[in-house]
């Protein structure tokens, strides 16, 4: 039996349907497809269909450990999935409030495939069961509150009379986070106001539209409209998982955008033995673990006064460039999914997985594949028109990485590094500052990075134990796939006593409003996605 079985005895027609369901499993991936790919998992190759619609999914695939906020979001998605449903956990630890995983596997393709096979068996046998358990965690229950229809500010948990007008309070379900229609400044929703209109003004017979619309927010074309808040995250299929994005919609235009990220708990991974700092920091961002590993190693070496030799620096550059190419390809796949280019989404994912698994000797071949992909993208009809002018940001907005380089700003932490100078590195800079320019910068960087990784000749990250017993302060900067990350550490006797980490996504998160607001919904989402945010690398 699976945890989300349907009530009923598994016989007759049900057995037939269960067999069909076992063959046709569709997974909703938490936190997102991009994390699964970055961890080297090819979900579709493992035989699971993928869907971004909870109602159409039968399997909740959890990849890696989730912070509490994302576990709650996953529980909401799971509750909204149709039975029979199951949880497949790949390398996930604690899942609560989700029910325990029906099948638990490690983070490797072989284990995933074996887990899918087990899940199929479980589905075929246990999709229907006589004693199916309910899923009713406390967080999903609606809280009832009582509000005055006349005074929207009067809301209380108990029934009673309004202290202002004495009217009986009306029960309603409490909103979680206040989504729904609202009129500009005041809240309380259309329902209360309108419900009242029928009683209070009934005698007047006719209400002036001017009177009724005077408090409504004005749209850009001067019409008074109601705005609606809708969540587009944390588990929205077109955006990186973990990005909490709430959009206030004026029709299909984004009036306001308020983003936040799941992030890592501060100071969490920063404190502890300095020699293991690299290990801990690599765990914060599943999308670019190598960058943070190198960042930590360099900062600790700087603090301990032990510089890395040339060979080590070169190998690290190779690892960083391999990760950059893989990360950009992963972004490209997600971005292609968002804009509905299905062939590109699949091809970029294949290349990303190949890059993640490749040895140095395989890099030139992948580079040729990346070049032909880039050429094909340049020739794709309608793509430039789709992206031109979307998410435009001029230079000097505090951005770094590809976002800044796409706006003609020559900023790259790699320029000052000896290992990169030796490899003949030259930063990729494009003009335009819009989603199209960012796409072009990343495409060029994929090719360049694969070339650099091939030239570096080694892709592993040597981690000499330099910090044992060391004291001092140091800092390091690494150009991650998303921009410049800086880490300042102070060591005392081999322990990190204080540390300060600054990643690029925190700065880019502040730009979301500028690329999204007053844009059509699809254009706003393209703008946000083109920033390539990693919700993981900001501190909560």
């Amino acid at each position: 039996m699976i945890s989300g079985a349907r009530q009923g005895s598994p016989a007759g027609l049900r057995r037939l349907f269960a067999a069909a369901m076992a063959r046709d499993l569709r997974a909703f991936v938490v936190p997102g497809a991009e994390v699964a790919r970055a961890r080297g998992l090819d979900v579709e190759a493992a035989g699971l269909g993928m869907t971004g619609v909870p109602r159409h999914a039968s399997v909740l695939l959890v990849v890696g450990e989730l912070p509490a906020a994302l576990r709650r979001a996953a529980a909401v998605v799971y509750a909204q999935m149709m039975r029979p449903r199951a949880v497949l956990a790949a390398g996930a630890g604690d899942l609560s409030p989700l029910p325990g995983a029906d099948v638990s596997v490690g983070l490797s393709q072989e284990e995933l495939e074996e887990g899918v096979a087990r899940l199929r068996t479980a589905f075929a046998r246990g999709a229907f069961a006589p004693g199916a358990a309910g899923f009713e965690p406390e967080m999903l229950r609606a809280r009832t509150e009582y509000a005055c229809p006349m005074h929207p500010e009067v809301v209380q948990d108990e029934p009673g009379a309004c202290p202002k007008c004495g009217m009986e309070l009306v029960s309603r379900e409490a909103a979680d986070g206040g989504s729904g229609p609202h009129h500009g400044g005041d809240h309380g929703g259309a329902n209360g106001d309108h419900g009242h209109g029928g009683h209070g003004h009934g005698g007047m017979g006719f209400m002036s539209m001017v009177e009724m619309t005077k408090d409504l927010p004005r749209s850009s074309d001067g019409l008074p409209m109601e705005w609606v808040e809708a969540p587009f995250g944390p588990l929205f299929p077109g955006l990186p998982g973990g990005l909490f994005l709430k959009l206030t919609l004026d029709g299909d235009t984004v009036a306001e955008a308020s983003p936040s990220a799941c992030g890592w708990a501060s100071p969490g991974p920063l404190t502890g033995p300095a020699d293991a700092l690299a290990e801990r920091l690599a765990g914060i961002d599943p999308l670019s673990p190598a960058s943070y590993r190198v960042l930590a190693l360099r900062a600790v070496e700087d603090a301990a006064g032990a510089g890395a030799d040339e060979r080590t620096a070169r190998a690290r550059a190779g690892a960083l460039e391999r990760e950059r190419a893989a990360s950009h390809l992963g972004w490209l796949s997600g971005f292609a999914y968002l804009i509905g280019h299905r062939w590109l989404a699949r091809r970029a994912a294949e290349l990303q997985l190949a890059v993640l698994r490749a040895e140095p000797a395989g890099m030139p071949g992948l580079r040729a594949a990346a070049r032909s992909l880039a050429r094909r993208i340049e020739r794709t009809p309608l793509l430039a028109r789709r992206l031109e002018g979307i998410g435009a940001l001029p230079g000097g907005t505090g951005a770094s990485g590809p976002v800044a380089r796409a706006a003609g700003v020559r900023t790259d932490a790699r320029c000052g590094e000896g290992a990169y100078r030796a490899l003949g590195f030259e930063p990729v800079v494009r003009e335009g500052g819009d989603a199209l320019a960012r796409l072009r910068v990343r495409l060029a960087e994929i090719e360049e990075s694969l070339g650099l990784a091939a030239a570096a000749g080694s892709l592993d990250i040597p981690a000499p134990r330099t910090a044992t017993g060391a004291s001092g302060a140091g800092a390091a900067t690494v150009e991650t796939p998303r921009g410049t990350a800086t880490l300042r550490v102070a060591l005392s006797d081999g322990e990190v006593v204080s540390a300060e980490l600054e990643g690029p996504s925190a700065r880019h998160l502040a730009l979301v409003g500028r690329v999204a607001e007053q844009r059509e919904l699809a254009d706003a989402l393209v703008g946000v996605a083109s920033l390539d945010l990693s919700p993981w690398e900001t501190a909560r």
Binding site: R6, Q7, G8, L13, R14, F17, V53, P54, R55, L70, A73, A74, V76, V77, A79, Q80, M82, R83, F128, A132, G134, F135, E136, P137, L140, R141, A142, E173, A174, A175, D176, G177, G178, S179, G180, P181, G189, A190, N191, L216, S219, D221, L223, M225, E226, W227, V228, E229, A230, P231, F232, G233, P234, L235, F236, D250, G251, D252, T253, E520
Partner: protein, 120 residues
């Protein structure tokens, strides 16, 4: 078959198709109903529970097109009878419809010039 027989057949087909769909629902329903659980019937929005209704005044941005469309839709009522007799009537029909469409096209150009053909 007579025209009326054809209409009856189409009506029967519509009813039969709806009946087929309903019997599919019936088969699905025979397996049992949906279990009532908290949060399940809230519209699925990316892992957040949005319980509030969204039926607010919706700002449609293509109303400029919609207004011109209404006029063009009228015009189509004339187009079909005209098209059917076009070969019989010849040049008269071409000129007649040419003038009619030219008048309408003026309307389209006016709307275009006034910015009706864009997102408002």
């Amino acid at each position: 078959m007579s025209a009326l027989g054809q209409y009856a057949l189409l009506l029967a087909l519509a009813a039969g198709t709806a009946g087929l769909a309903l019997s599919v629902y019936g088969i699905a329903r025979s397996l049992g109903g949906a279990r009532r659980e908290p949060g399940k019937d809230v519209p699925a929005t990316a892992g957040e529970l949005s319980r509030e209704p969204v039926w607010a005044r919706y700002h449609v941005r293509y109303y400029g097109y919609a207004l011109l469309f209404l006029a063009f839709d009228m015009e189509m009522a004339y187009m079909y009878p005209w098209a059917v007799v076009y070969r019989q009537e010849g040049l008269v029909a071409l000129l007649d419809m040419g003038v009619f469409l030219a008048i309408l096209f003026l309307g389209l150009l006016y709307g275009w010039s006034q910015g009706a053909l864009k997102r408002q």
